[in-house]
């Protein structure tokens, strides 16, 4: 628990200067920062699209935009948020920055591959932006035959996602090797911080599942450009085949989104409660269990798609099995808080918000996993609400917790606590007003992806739209706090939160080589509180 002063002048930010020193950098910290800025920019773009979607829904008729424009807006909201923001943000941005620091390494295993992944990612994003000339209108799920027929730029978007996916695969590979080979002396697998376990499980999914979606998009392209008929019934193909391929990737990918966020929560809770994490092995291995079982449940997106009854029943059963390891993690976090000394600073309140919202997201899952009720709720606003509770209430709150937690390490400055809490209050209220309402809207039968809707749903749509404004205000305050504190924040000490993981043993911001000397690990990183006996 050493408290070093930020006495070293040279750090990763000021060691070299100029555009090219960043563009060609091999430093995982700089690459992480570049990912973060790129991705957060697109988070704001996707957010504005979401606000526009909500704005149109104030009225049952097209008062703001036409059907076509609405369809393009919700598609782009989904594509940007999923493929550019939620999937890469924690692994590629925060993960890149903290993985080597957490395991006591000087960099990732393949720094050149790392910078190449970043530029592949950026080129994918640029290709996606080119598609804006004629924005796609397929929804982020690209279901055939519609996506094979629409005149919009599905071809370009598919190429863009192909590139972004390739970047994910390379980053995943890099992280797996880094975690296997570059751990500091003494850091056994059971002394590994839980964030690393989360990233490890995520990387495995990325390496195994992303190629499938790559192949799927190539098949879609060959259908559009060469007239193949994989998914076209008039040529003997099967539109359901596309859905199977798509969800074989896109279901595991929700665990790509959530596992790293769970890892962040597992880091923050012990530090801010001064307690060892409860059930370390259960949390670590449940990440792997979720990653494995996550490959076997894709069919629960297709209960009413026309799949065989037997397959439907098996997928429902397996879906419920996945609920258990997820529940175990929540119980472990709450149990860690028992008899702690809980510091309610901003990283912790975001972590608590994650748990609070994720429980709601989790408990609404069985309604969709259960066959009888899913038939009714599928493709309604209930699904939209459930998804946003798990992904925005989960992954994004986990990201916000991580950003507040590691902001001092990344920038060398402290955030303003008061502003951070003000932003949090807006986000919590705005989020729940926007999305809780949608559970009821969905039960009442409101289908998703509707530009216009029957008047009986209007009052609830107004509530959600007003909620989206509160939520947006909170996020703007949070970004204002980030930007202001980069320049005006208090100087951060090496270890502002008194954490025991290795990133806090080096100055904030860290020097380019991370550690003066590679640390030697003698204990697990959650040794808070008073031990009754000697063994750990």
């Amino acid at each position: 628990m050493s408290r070093q002063q930020p006495s070293i002048e040279k750090n990763y930010l000021n060691e070299t200067h100029g555009f090219w020193s960043w563009a060609y950098t091999l430093d995982h910290k700089r690459i992480g920062v570049m990912y973060l800025l790129t991705i957060l920019f697109f988070f704001l773009v996707g957010g504005v699209l979401g606000l526009l979607v909500r704005l149109e829904l104030l009225e049952p008729t097209n008062w703001l935009v036409s059907n076509q424009t609405y369809n393009e807006m919700f598609t782009l909201h989904g594509v940007i948020m999923i493929f550019i923001f939620v999937i890469p943000v924690i692994p590629s941005a925060l993960g890149n920055f903290v993985i080597p620091l957490l395991i006591g390494a000087r960099d990732v295993a393949f720094p050149r591959l790392n910078i190449a992944s970043y530029w592949i990612f950026v080129s994918g994003v640029i290709v996606l932006m080119v598609s804006m000339v004629h924005p796609i209108d397929t929804g982020w799920t690209f279901y055939t035959p519609y996506s094979a027929k629409t005149a919009t730029s599905v071809t370009i978007v598919a190429l863009g996602i192909f590139l972004v996916g390739m970047s994910s695969i390379l980053t995943g590979l890099n992280f797996i090797v880094t975690i296997h080979k570059l751990r500091a002396p003494g850091m056994s697998w059971h002394r590994l911080p839980l964030f690393i376990w989360g990233i490890y499980a995520t990387s495995i999914i990325n390496v195994l599942a992303t190629p499938v979606v790559g192949v799927t998009f190539l098949m879609l392209l060959s259908e559009r450009l060469l007239g193949f008929g994989f998914f076209d019934p008039s040529k003997g193909g099967d539109p359901l085949l596309f859905q199977h391929f798509f969800w074989f990737y896109s279901h595991p990918v929700v665990y790509v989104m959530i596992l790293p966020a769970m890892g962040i929560i597992s880091e923050i809770i012990p530090v801010f409660t001064r307690k060892p994490i409860f059930g370390y092995k259960a949390i670590a291995y449940s990440s792997l269990a979720i990653a494995g079982a996550g490959f076997l449940v894709w069919g629960h997106h297709m209960f009413v798609a026309g799949m065989s009854s037997i397959a439907t029943i098996i997928f429902s059963f397996l879906t419920f099995s996945v609920a258990i390891p997820t529940g175990v993690k929540v119980f472990n976090w709450i149990a860690t808080m028992y008899r702690g000394s809980i510091n309610l600073d901003s990283p912790m309140i975001y972590a608590l918000t994650f748990i609070f919202l994720f429980i709601i997201g989790g408990l609404t899952g069985p309604f969709l996993g259960s066959l009888a009720t899913d038939v009714h709720l599928h493709e309604t606003y209930f699904l939209v609400a459930h998804f946003h509770y798990t992904i925005m209430g989960g992954t994004v709150m986990g990201l916000f917790a991580g950003l507040h937690y590691w902001f001092p390490k990344i920038t060398g400055r402290m955030l303003d606590e008061k502003t951070a809490k003000r932003a949090w209050a807006f986000i919590l209220v705005g989020f729940n007003v926007t999305f809780f309402n949608m559970f009821i809207l969905g039960f009442r039968g409101m289908p998703r992806r509707y530009a216009t809707y029957p008047e009986k749903f209007q009052s609830q749509h107004i509530i959600s739209t007003v909620g989206s404004w509160i939520l947006a205000a909170g996020i703007l305050i949070m970004f204002y706090n980030f930007i202001r504190c980069i320049y005006k924040g208090e100087k951060a000490p090496a270890n502002p939160w008194r954490g025991l993981t290795l990133e806090w043993t080096t100055p904030s911001p860290p020097p380019t080589e991370n550690f003066k000397e590679i640390p030697v690990v003698t204990d697990w990183p959650y040794s808070y509180g008073k031990r009754k006996d000697a063994d750990g």
Binding site: T61, S66, N67, Q68, N71, D137, T138, G139, T141, Y143, P145, Y146, P233, S234, T273, K275, P276, I277, F278, G279, Y280, K281, V304, A305, G306, S309, S316, F317, F320, I324, V328, F331, I334, A335, M337, Y338, R339, G340, S341, I342, L344, L352, I359, P366, G369, S370, L371, A372, D374, V375, H376, E379, T380, G445, R449, A451, Y453, P454, G529, K530
Partner: protein, 429 residues
Amino acid sequence: MTPDTYGPLGAASKIASEVDSVYLFITGIALFFFIVTQGALIYFAFRYRRKKGAEDVETPYITSNSVLEGVWVAIPTILVMSIFIYGYIVWEDMRTPLPGAEEIHVTARQWLFKFTYPDGRETVNELRIPAGQAVKLTMTSEDVIHAFFVPELREKMDILPGRYTYLWLKPERIGTYTIYCTQYCGVGHSQMQATLYVMEPHEYQEWAAKQVEEAEKSMPLAQRGKNLVEQSGCLACHSTDGTIKVGPSFKDLFGSSVKLSDGSTVTADADYIRESILDPGAKIVSGFKNLMPTFKGILKDDDITAIIAYMQTLSARVGVPPAAATAAGPAGQPTIEKGKAVFEGKGCIGCHSTDGTIKVGPTFKGLYGSTVTLSDGKTVKADDAYINESILEPNEQVVKGYSPVMPSYKGTVNEEELQSVILYIKSLK
């Protein structure tokens, strides 16, 4: 069949109320976990929050507790498995059609639903079922994937091109329900809705009878005659392929010379056939017995006309093409009725309303003669020439605020159908 039979959540069938029981079951379990977990989370956060100046307070070193961990794996496992089993049992009922369910075919296309009843009746965007009648919907799509969703019945199924999916319903609460397409299908997706009328059985019968009558009116006369011949039992004694049965064959009968039992000869013209149907004993064909009962009072005048038209099509002596004889107007003459049939049958209804509602395309109500603003800012009067062009070359002049998504109907509609649609649009003031 009282409105409140199926619970407070608005279920309109017995199965839907069973689904609601599953809802209540899951909600109970979810509430239990919600209270336990959120309660502990919030209670701990307040109870153990750090007071000012207590930074170095000592905390216990607790890393695990196998009993507790065993309990919180076992209890959730049992509860979620019970949810799975309950949901599965009710779903089995939802997927197993009652024996004897009436089969209705559903054809979906961008952006309408077409329903075909067992007796050949067809409706567009309007499904009528008598309360308490089980129906099985056999569904397929002509283009992209659609879905059939009635919230009050808790039923939904995707509709795919190139294969059949099914759904069965037994709505029991009389009322009007919206059928939504819930699988995203393009620009008209949110307007792809149909109406389900769950009717009193006798009202349904009246409606069905009226539909049949109207369908017959618009049916080609010879086709109606063929139906009558089949339904009235004529085929028990008369063949249509020349086989001799109890009575003479209808093949090549019309216009031929018939030798009667009294040795005389008559020409089988319309009057002869009419007489043979109403007064079969008046002229007996040589070699046959006087067995046929009269159809006086059973077949009406226009029925007989239809049967004669059918017999004409069976006869080589008269080359009357069957399609030419239509009841709704002489061949080649455009009429409003034909226009309405084309409007529904060719899918115009998927994008254009007739009541002023804005859908994917402009409404037809009040369209004719109005002044239309185009996407390039110009205005044009919606006259015959404009509507003609809009059907054959839809993207030449696109109305402001609409997307150029309409396909060309060149080659899909003939001149008669085109003029009929224009007449129909004119009639929608």
